[in-house]
């Protein structure tokens, strides 16, 4: 099976976001594989191990994403491709990324493409479905289980806490939800082997794309942090008085009822 994984380098979940001059400060921050993409990498490796074939991880980003791709190789992926847009694109969006990925995947005859359900930074959840649409293949999002049998695929997906079981056929794109698996960490032999695995670097030119072809469709107006959490209010007195006060506060102050 020819399996591709779409992977994004994101802030570590432990990092505190700092905004300076309208943009997020990246200096000194730790970066990781987007956790949902990590599920995708793990699942791809498991499917490859049971079905045979090859796993290629692809990332659109800057030079620094090489580190996350190396980690995916150390986990067990076979090949990595970094589409380096550092010099070409200043402000990309979900359209930009999906267009580039789709262009890259065109003609690669992917049987299965796995991506994260959402990236923990931008949080749009758009790239996976957009890529599938551009490639004209079906997609299933937020999967928590996948069984491949020949060209037919059985999937359980998370639907706001319920599960839905779906049958589909390859080629297919799926996006991973938490619960799909427990991603492995790279073993020492894994890290050593990864050193010898191919990591190809491409630029827009190599995909016959111009900056105009992938120009963002959205514009960021402002970036700001959520308001600081204020101290809570503790009601006191007899229980029925408290209940009345709560109802009145919800109505007049919070304006939710």
């Amino acid at each position: 099976m020819n399996i591709f994984v779409l992977l994004k380098r994101t802030f570590d979940t432990e990092e505190k976001i700092v905004i300076s001059n309208g943009s997020i400060v990246e200096d000194g921050a730790e970066f990781i594989i987007n956790p949902y993409d990590e599920y995708a990498v793990e699942e791809a490796i498991q499917i490859r191990d049971s079905q045979g074939g090859e796993v290629t991880v692809v990332s659109v980003g800057g030079e620094e994403a090489e580190k996350q791709l190396r980690t995916a190789l150390a986990m067990g992926a076979d090949k990595a491709v970094l589409i380096n847009i550092e010099d070409d694109i200043e402000n990309g969006d979900q359209f930009t990324t999906s267009k580039i990925l789709a262009e890259f995947l065109q003609g690669k005859e992917a049987d299965l493409i796995l991506a994260g359900n959402v990236a923990i930074d931008g949080g749009s959840g758009q790239v996976g479905p957009r890529v599938a649409d551009l490639l004209d293949i079906p997609y299933i999002t937020t999967i928590t289980n996948i069984t491949v049998d020949g060209t037919s695929v059985k999937i359980v997906r998370d639907v706001e806490g319920d599960s839905e079981t779906i049958e589909a056929a390859l080629p297919l794109l799926v996006t991973a939800q938490q619960g799909l698996n427990e991603p492995r960490y790279p073993s020492l032999p894994g890290i050593m082997k990864a050193k010898k695995k191919p990591l190809e670097e491409l630029e827009l030119d190599d995909l016959d794309l111009d900056e105009d072809d992938v120009e963002a469709k959205t514009k960021t107006i402002e970036i700001f942090l959520p308001p600081k959490k204020e101290a809570g209010k503790v009601l006191e007195g007899e229980l029925d008085v408290q209940v009345k006060e709560l109802v009145s506060l919800l109505h007049s102050e919070a304006k939710v009822i």
Partner: protein, 389 residues
């Protein structure tokens, strides 16, 4: 990308991967083991099966063929995470005696299994009740009878003997009176512990102030096949000595990991704990000891990497390895004291883990070589002063 940038990246990757394993074993895991005096079986299994303890074993035997620099980074990170590499570090380097001096058949038989972790070789029987640093006086004797050795004697402070399948045992094969030099006539035997226990070998745990799985060994007419002799008979002392520098460097790295853990805990606590209306860390009396310990750890780290790169380049590194061990053990102990002092009463409370790490790092002033012997070594071999012992 130049080679040194690549190496730095690789070391960073190595650190992150060890941290990923260790993050599954938080403070509470180690605390519970400490309270129950139990061995970190799950942790050791996982760090072994993920290949980290096979770092020094050549690739042809299933390891990763890395240097002491990388091995030291792995052990440092285990201690840096709050864990205790002392539970398993010997699986990494005890095989060195076998690797350097074993026959091709012995290496083929044991090393691949040690690499995958199905065989544990992490017990090293040298010290005896009446023989500490004066190793050549050891009395455990192996008499050759046909195709086997009959061993009699006693060993003490043998770590992990209950959690190991094999043990490297240093014995006398020629009595001290019959050798020209006292370092001659000692030999190294590889003992199959599973087969030996109950058949001439009795292992008795020694309760110590920290959870270190130390034991005492009573050896009475223990039969060891002659094919388990490592290298040549009578040259065992030399074989043991040439593994010492590796051990010094690795232990130094563990101390540095401990030290960084103490500094982090102490700094965090000093920032958060408010007394008299301000964080205690605002007081120079609190922050200076932490800062000084940090400085000493950084300095020890430089010596550790210097020793490690000399070792990996195949150069002489006895002085550097010993100095790194002394500096690192001293600075981790200094950091441990600073951490306890900063935490006040909480430094003694088990749930803060400082007292546990405090006990663990104290060991390295004494073992595997005492600080005094390092000073004697440097005085004699580096400065040319008269031998003091």
């Amino acid at each position: 990308m130049n080679a040194s940038v690549k190496e730095t990246q690789f070391h960073e990757e190595l650190r992150q991967s060890v941290r990923a394993v260790c993050s599954k074993y938080p403070d509470a895991y180690w605390r519970e083991l400490d309270a129950n005096l139990t061995y970190p079986e799950e942790f050791v299994n996982e760090i072994t099966s993920s290949g980290f303890l096979a770092a020094l074993i050549p690739e042809e035997y299933g390891g990763s063929g890395l240097g002491i620099t990388e091995a030291s980074i792995i052990l440092e990170e285990i201690n840096r995470s709050g864990g205790n590499a002392g539970a398993c570090h010997a699986q990494m380097y005890t095989m060195g005696t076998l690797l350097r001096h074993g026959s091709p058949e012995q290496k083929e038989k044991y090393l691949p299994k040690i690499a995958e972790g199905s065989l544990r070789l992490q017990a090293f029987g040298v010290t005896e009740p009446n023989t500490g640093s004066d190793t050549t006086k050891l009395r455990t004797f192996a008499e050759r009878r046909g195709n086997k050795y009959i061993v009699n004697g006693q060993k003490v402070f043998i770590s992990r003997a209950e959690h190991s399948d094999l043990m490297v045992l240093l014995v006398r094969t020629t009595p001290l009176e019959q050798v020209k030099k006292k370092s001659e006539g000692l030999s190294v035997l590889l003992v199959d512990l599973q087969a030996a226990i109950g058949n001439g070998l009795t292992v008795k745990p020694i309760r110590t102030m920290m959870n270190h799985a130390s034991t005492e060994l009573f050896i009475e007419d223990l039969e060891v096949p002659a094919e388990n002799l490592i290298g040549e008979e009578g040259k065992g002392f030399k074989y043991i000595l040439d593994g010492m520098n590796a051990e010094r460097i690795l232990i130094a790295a563990e101390c540095i990991g401990d030290g960084r853990w103490f500094i982090e805990r102490a700094s965090n606590y000093a920032k958060d704990r408010v007394v008299f209306g301000r964080p205690i860390g605002q007081n120079q009396g609190v922050q200076f000891p932490i800062a000084r310990a940090h400085i000493n750890i950084e300095a020890a780290d430089l010596m550790r990497f210097k020793a490690a790169s000399l070792f990996d380049a195949g150069e002489k590194c006895g002085a550097e390895a010993n100095m790194a061990k002394l500096l690192a053990a001293d600075s981790s102990w200094e950091a441990a004291n600073a951490a306890v002092q900063t935490h006040g009463g909480y430094g003694f409370a088990e749930e803060y883990d400082v007292e546990r790490k405090f006990k663990e790092t104290r060991l390295y002033q004494v073992a595997p070589i005492s600080t005094n012997l390092i000073l004697s070594f440097v005085a004699e071999h580096v400065l040319g002063l008269p031998r003091s012992y």
